[in-house]
């Protein structure tokens, strides 16, 4: 009978476990738990490429400067002030804040900045940041707290690149940067100190008591790695995480949960259909315009994004200064689309429902990467809508790495659905300039001499008003040419437990709590002032 003991034991353990979980152990409250789909890779800002690493790096490290909350101008972080001298070889001098210490107690100086720059420029370092500094002629330390860079030519996006996190020279000088264990237990100057990293489970950082802007009010922040969005949602509902980037279809459900606040915010990205302009099918501008007219973008936004997005007319995010509001998106107009196509010579002459020209049916393959559900759904709808126009579209998805190497980088595709994530600076030279057709990111092979000139001019111009004129014109040109069908710019949605507030001083200097607000620069802009107002630190 001994044999039957094992299933009985199994049942007992199971039962005890069920009892255990029915009773909920207490939890600490003054902390923020976030979730990430993938594990971080390098907790070192010059090596990191993925979003998980970058998010944590932004807590642990500081740049010299950062964007303000409206993404208009820069404010100093490690640099107290700076001076831009324009000219043929413009110079930027940074005057660094004194008395800032690394998390290990050593003082931060301009030599750290120089070291960071040198490491980025070192060919042996596996960093993708080097392109940002290719136009730098010289970087030098003038005094322990003064750092100066000289550019080879005027380059207005240059200032923004100094928001890069600075790494400590004294800890990395003698290390092999690509493989050092520092990349897993970082030391920075930021508001939070690194505590631990359990692979594929969590990364923990705690408040830095010596932070120069004051100690953050939260005790710590935990990143949990949860590889599935629907599972993150379950964790959110069981309060296993406090903050979560919501998918559009979850919005309504989330906003009904009493303990959650839901925020929305425009993001720096847009999704588009890119046409390979080397393909004779798409060389006629009227064909591209017709397609844009035939794709019901309002419907895409309304149904695929559940209304959380905006149809855009050109290559910029619509909430920033360089987006030209005078350019209106093409309306959904099938008749116009048919007319444009027949002007371009595409007619259904053999009556098979498919347009043709010189005996060739209009047939092409639309591709996108697999794993992105929204792009997949967009593809299905676009395929259907173009079929209505009489264009035979097949739609296929490929795994990301293959998609890039075999199709996009090889310029071997008809049309693709993709998205760009941009930075707040409008300089998209690498995407649109004709010099980038051969090897760069202009994989649709777009060429427009006037636009080329303007892109060159834009990155040399420091004056914002002049830049605005330049980019507004570029916007007009590209909207007219339609090398892409610009689909939409999504809204980011995030859900946060209601227990968090902002702690600060009111107008009379008393301590006050206020609601956390969504800034243009994101919900977390004031993270160091976040606070959970609760006497007891534990909660059932």
């Amino acid at each position: 009978m001994l044999l039957f003991a094992s299933p009985i034991l199994f049942l007992i353990i199971l039962g005890m476990n069920l009892l255990f979980v029915s009773y909920r152990p207490p939890q600490r409250v003054n902390q923020l738990i976030m979730s990430s789909i993938g594990d971080a890779s390098f907790l070192n800002p010059i090596l990191a490429q993925d979003s998980a690493s970058s998010e944590i790096n932004s807590l642990v490290y500081n740049g010299l400067i950062k964007y303000d909350r409206d993404l208009q101008e820069f404010v100093g972080v490690l640099a107290e002030s700076w001076k831009v001298e324009q000219g043929k070889e413009p110079r930027i001098t940074f005057f660094l804040r004194r008395g800032i210490r690394w998390h290990d107690g050593k003082e931060f100086t301009a030599y750290d900045v120089k070291f960071t720059y040198d490491k980025i420029m070192d060919e042996k370092t596996n960093t993708v940041r080097r392109s940002d500094y290719e136009l730098v002629k010289e970087a030098e330390v003038l005094a322990p707290h003064t750092f100066r860079v000289t550019y080879k030519q005027p380059f207005s996006p240059g200032l923004g690149t100094w928001s890069m996190g600075i790494i400590p020279k004294h800890l990395l000088e003698h290390e092999e940067i690509n493989t050092t264990s520092f990349n897993r237990r970082p030391v920075g100057t930021g508001p939070f100190r690194f505590v631990e990293w359990v692979t594929d489970e969590k990364i923990v950082v705690e408040a830095n008591p010596d932070y120069f802007e004051g100690k953050p009010h939260l005790d710590r922040i935990i990143y949990r790695i949860i590889p599935e969005t629907s599972l993150s949602e379950m964790e959110l509902l069981t309060k296993g995480i406090d903050y979560y980037g919501v998918l559009p279809h979850q919005f309504r459900r989330m906003s009904e949960v009493p303990f959650l606040n839901v925020y929305t915010q425009p993001v720096f990205s847009y999704t588009y259909i890119g046409y390979n302009l080397k393909n004779p099918l798409f060389q006629d501008r009227r064909v591209r315009q017709a397609f844009t007219h035939a794709v019901n973008r309002e419907e895409l936004v309304q149904y695929v994004l559940y209304g959380f997005g905006e149809v855009i007319s050109g290559p910029f995010p619509s909430h920033l200064w360089y987006y030209n509001p005078n350019v209106k998106p093409f309306p959904y107009d099938l008749r116009k689309a048919r007319q444009l196509l027949s002007e371009a010579g595409w007619k259904d002459s053999d009556g098979d429902g498919i347009l043709d020209k010189d005996g060739m049916p209009f047939r092409f393959k639309l591709i996108t990467n697999s794993g992105n559900e929204i792009r997949r759904d967009v593809g299905v709808l676009v395929q259907r809508q173009l079929r209505e126009l009489g264009v035979d579209v097949t739609f296929e998805t490929y795994e990301w790495s293959i998609f890039l190497k075999n199709f996009i980088n090889a310029r071997h595709f008809d049309a693709c659905i993709l998205g760009w994530s941009l930075s707040p600076d409008p300089d998209d030279y690498m995407i649109w300039h004709s010099s980038q057709i051969e090897k760069g990111f202009n994989f649709v092979s777009y060429q427009n001499p006037e636009a080329d000139r303007l892109w060159e001019k834009g990155r040399k111009e420091y004056d914002v008003a002049n830049r605005k004129r330049i980019y507004w014109r570029i916007h007009e040109l590209i909207a007219e040419d339609q090398p892409y069908t610009f689909l939409y710019m999504p809204l980011g949605i995030s859900a946060l437990q209601r227990k968090f507030f902002l702690k600060g001083k009111d107008s009379e200097g008393r301590e006050a709590m206020s609601e956390i607000k969504m800034e243009k620069a994101g919900l977390m802009y004031d993270l160091i002032r976040w606070y959970v107002p609760q006497k007891a630190v534990l909660e059932r």
């Binding site: 998918l247 279809h249 149904y303 695929v304 997949r376 299905v380 259907r384 998805t397 795994e399 293959i402």
Partner: protein
């Protein structure tokens, strides 16, 4: 049951109430009703129709994959078993290598190299699952080739190929039949698992694994997207397993009751 499944798959285009690819976004994520028996998905496509068409894809993946695997399995097994000696040891070593291979990598790579079409998935599942069959066939051959009727055929001067295919194979085919049926069940499961990892039949084609995987995102909004395809896979795989077992009992009384 199996017959019913076949019937359904074969007549999918007749009984499907809607075009499986037809999107109607204002009707998305509707729960089951008379109009849409199993509800609609995130693009307003009719799940019932998609499942009917999906049954074709899933079943054909199962069958073709197994056909390929059986073909390779018989070939390798027959050669190893019939010729013995060094042919046998080389082939069996190869089988060992294949058995140790994490099939996932093979599948990934072939799908990657050739593109994620239905045919490639069949091919990959086929070439990663023949080893069991080949061992079976080899064992059968090893015992059969010593039998009198084979020796007699040899003495009569028949060619190897003729002996293999005309005399030994028919006698050793029963267990192959049984494993084939069981393998169809496995292949359908593998396809679903592949879809889960994003390497299955690529959307928008509706395989059951695909519908299930797409529905996973909407598990809180639309339970029917996850439940029905999973259930369909379960029922089909179950039927094939039971059929395989039944066949085993019928064809080979020696094996009755064994797994």
């Amino acid at each position: 049951m199996i017959l019913l499944i076949f019937l359904v798959a074969g007549s999918a285009s007749f009984i499907a109430p809607h075009d499986p690819g037809k999107t109607n976004v204002s009707f998305k994520l509707k729960s089951p009703s008379f109009q849409h028996l199993l509800g609609t998905d995130q693009l307003g496509r009719d799940v019932f129709s998609r499942m009917l068409h999906g049954s074709r894809i899933s079943l054909s993946v199962g069958f073709v994959a197994v056909a390929i695997s059986i073909f390779i399995g018989i070939l390798v097994g027959a050669m190893a078993g019939y010729y013995g000696r060094w042919v046998d040891s080389i082939l069996m070593r190869f089988v060992d290598i294949m058995l140790c291979f994490p099939t996932f990598f093979l599948i990934l790579t072939v799908v990657a190299l050739l593109g994620p079409s239905i045919f490639n998935i069949m091919l990959v599942i086929g070439i990663t699952s023949w080893m069991g069959t080949s061992r079976f066939v080899r064992a059968e051959f090893l015992s059969l080739r010593e039998r009198d009727f084979v020796q007699a055929a040899k003495a009569l001067g028949m060619g190897d190929r003729r002996i293999i295919f005309r005399h030994i194979l028919p006698n050793g085919l029963a267990p192959v039949f049984v494993t084939a049926t069981l393998d169809v069940a496995t292949a359908i499961l593998v396809e679903a698992g592949l879809s889960f990892l994003g390497f299955g039949v690529q959307p928008p084609a509706p395989s059951w694994g695909n519908i299930l995987t797409e529905g996973r995102t909407y598990i809180f909004d639309a339970w029917w997207l996850t439940l029905f395809p999973g259930f369909a896979i379960l029922i089909t795989v179950l039927s094939f397993n039971l059929l395989g077992e039944g066949l085993r009992d019928a064809l080979d009384p020696r094996l009755r009751g064994r797994r």
